[in-house]
């Protein structure tokens, strides 16, 4: 029977339009409504309301004042709070306590920190004076030497102190106390970049670091020799970097060696470009 299974269009409209209302003996009014929600499903809404008349005794003067027409900037505005001037703030808890400890607690922490900082002396890392390092008057003169002194000891010689574990928490190796942090590495790299470095190309495969330093050390003190080697075969890839301490030495070496034959090959020497 197709008629009974499909709801009649007239019935459907009636169901939605007609809210049923009835009041029981206790004065509770129940309203039942049918609505179609967003999903197209029919929902039943039941509302129970109870009206109560509350008598409140108000001061006569107060009652009259409530009826005063508004004036000034509010003139002509409707009764009731205007959201432009009146808003309700966030809920605030007034916690009353007999001990007064809840409110003092925060203060004590604050005071403790203050005390701690009061006793702490500000010490300049450069001149040991009582000012911040950045404010040091000898920053330019003393500062440079100091940083140089700090970075001279090679980081590899320092044995990394074993696990100063704090509370059994895992700390990545580079974060551990004593590990040369990324910051230190960076300064070393910067330092390296500052040094006068030559790039030597067209080296033979048999060349070693010793050969290269032998070749260059006659011009002055060499601080570093780097020979690029193939990762697998460990033979020379044909180029090397030589860092001098003095720029003049490097200049002389460049002029002397560039274009010279070495091991059947003609060497090419030029200023190395900064890695950055």
């Amino acid at each position: 029977m197709p008629v009974s299974s499909a709801t009649n269009w007239a019935d459907e409209v009636d169901g939605e339009e007609m809210p049923q209302t009835f009041t029981d003996a206790n004065g509770i009014t129940t309203t039942i409504e049918y609505k179609t929600n967003e999903d197209g499903k029919k929902v039943k809404i039941t509302r129970r309301t109870q009206k109560k008349l509350i008598h409140d005794v108000v001061n006569k003067a107060v009652a009259t004042r409530k009826k005063w027409p508004k004036f000034g900037k509010e003139k002509g505005n409707r009764p009731g709070p205007d959201p432009a001037t009146t808003n309700v703030g966030d809920n605030i808890k007034l916690k009353l306590s007999s001990t007064g400890q809840i409110v003092q607690d925060v203060d004590e922490k604050h005071e403790a920190m203050k005390q701690q900082l009061q006793n702490k002396k500000i010490l300049c890392r450069i001149c040991k004076g009582d000012h911040f390092t950045t404010k040091c008057p000898y920053k330019d003169s003393l500062g440079m030497e100091d940083t140089a002194a700090v970075s001279t000891p090679p980081p590899a010689e320092e044995p990394a102190p074993e696990e100063q574990q704090t509370g059994g928490k895992y700390i990545a190796p580079h974060m551990r106390a004593g590990a040369s942090g990324s910051k230190d590495r960076e300064t070393i790299r910067e330092k390296r970049d500052e040094q006068p470095t030559l790039r030597v190309t067209n080296l033979s495969e048999d060349a070693t670091e010793a050969d290269v330093s032998e070749l260059f050390k006659r011009f002055g003190h060499i601080s570093r020799v780097f020979l690029a080697r193939d990762r697998e075969t460990n033979v020379c890839k044909g180029f090397a970097f030589v860092s001098f301490t003095m720029r003049e030495d490097a200049q002389r070496a460049l002029e002397a060696i560039d274009g010279r034959g070495y091991d059947n090959l003609i060497l090419r020497v030029e200023w190395a470009k900064s890695s950055a």
Binding site: N59, G72, T85, T86, K95, S98
Partner: protein, 327 residues
């Protein structure tokens, strides 16, 4: 509790006051306007317009018919509360810092600032007890009080005394007929910022920049209670009913706020037990120092006005009324 925020001012609040029944709240600020609000829902009744300078002070008489305001435009104005009409404008040489109706509503006391060669004055005006424009332009009395500058003043009980607070931290008792000081007592280390009478005016509370508030007996100027906090205070009020509390508020000076960090400058209303001198609670919410506090006469709500330009009206939760202080 959910505070009601009143945003009727564009600049920092200077004083707020409830009327006797507490249904209306009046607020004045540095933006020249006087606002009247219904305290139960924060609805604005209206504004009183006419001042052309910062309004320092306001007071309403006990029948809520007349309002008086004192301003930095060197005038004090008398208003009809119900319709915002200005009934009278008195002009002075300098700014008016404090006004108050006497207990019998017949007189107004006014404190003017010393400035530009003009000495500070304390003047008393006669106002007819009722709304009328025939108010005398001439003061009943003009006093030139000697000594430190008067910052706050209030009538004592039965209008027998005028209590003044001065910028050296002292409180003095003045005879309203002769203008002579009867007694004085240096109770604070720094300038007084507020002085509010108890309901019967037999004692009063003072707030000072020296971070403390004190309750003094009117007749003898004896210190009865001391409430020491950790921040300069701008206002203090006595709760008339429900709980034996006082509310004090303040915060770091507005100009020092950016120079100090942490804990947002202590801009809280602090509740102290009036008798046991113990702090019992705090209400935060303002973004700047609290300049003025007023408590509803029935003790069920209070309002605070801050340097941030907001008035916050707080209606206490149910647990506030049942709270008992345990010793």
């Amino acid at each position: 509790m959910r505070p009601i925020l009143l945003q009727g001012h564009e600049r920092s609040l200077t004083q707020i006051k409830y009327n006797r029944e507490g249904d209306l709240l009046f607020s004045v600020s540095k933006d020249h306007v006087v606002n009247a609000w219904f305290s139960h829902n924060g609805e604005r009744l209206g504004t009183y317009e006419g001042h052309i300078g910062a309004v320092w002070t306001v007071d309403v008489n006990s029948s809520t018919t007349l309002l008086v305001s004192g301003s930095a435009d060197n005038t004090a104005k008398l208003w009809d509360v119900s319709n915002g009409k200005c009934l009278k404008s008195w002009e002075f040489n300098t700014a008016v810092r404090r006004v108050q109706f006497s207990e019998d509503d017949r007189k107004i006391l006014l404190v003017t600032e010393p400035r530009m060669g003009f000495p500070a004055t304390l003047q008393i005006f006669n106002v007819e007890n009722g709304v009328t424009e025939n108010v005398s332009s001439e003061p009943l009395a003009v006093f030139h009080p000697e000594g430190p500058k008067i910052t706050v003043a209030a009538w004592g009980y039965l209008d027998k005394y005028i209590v003044v607070g001065r910028d050296n931290g002292s409180v003095a008792l003045m005879d309203p007929h002769t203008g002579k000081y009867i007694a004085d007592n240096k109770v604070h280390e720094a300038t007084l910022t507020d002085l509010q009478m108890s309901t019967d005016r037999t004692y009063f509370i003072t707030a000072s920049k020296d971070k403390s508030a004190k309750i003094l007996e009117t007749k003898t100027l004896q210190v009865l209670k001391t409430y020491t906090t950790d921040t300069p205070l701008n206002s203090a009020a006595i709760m008339p009913k429900v709980q034996e509390f006082v509310i004090v508020g303040g915060g770091q000076e507005a100009m020092d706020v950016t120079r100090t960090s942490s804990r947002q400058g202590k801009f809280e209303c602090r509740f102290w037990h009036k008798i046991l001198e113990e702090e019992v609670g705090r209400v935060r919410g303002h973004f700047g120092p609290i300049n003025t506090i007023a408590i509803h006469p029935d003790g069920r709500s209070f309002a605070s006005g801050g340097e941030d330009g907001y008035v916050r009206v707080h209606h206490f939760d149910e647990d506030f009324f049942t709270f008992k202080f345990q010793i």
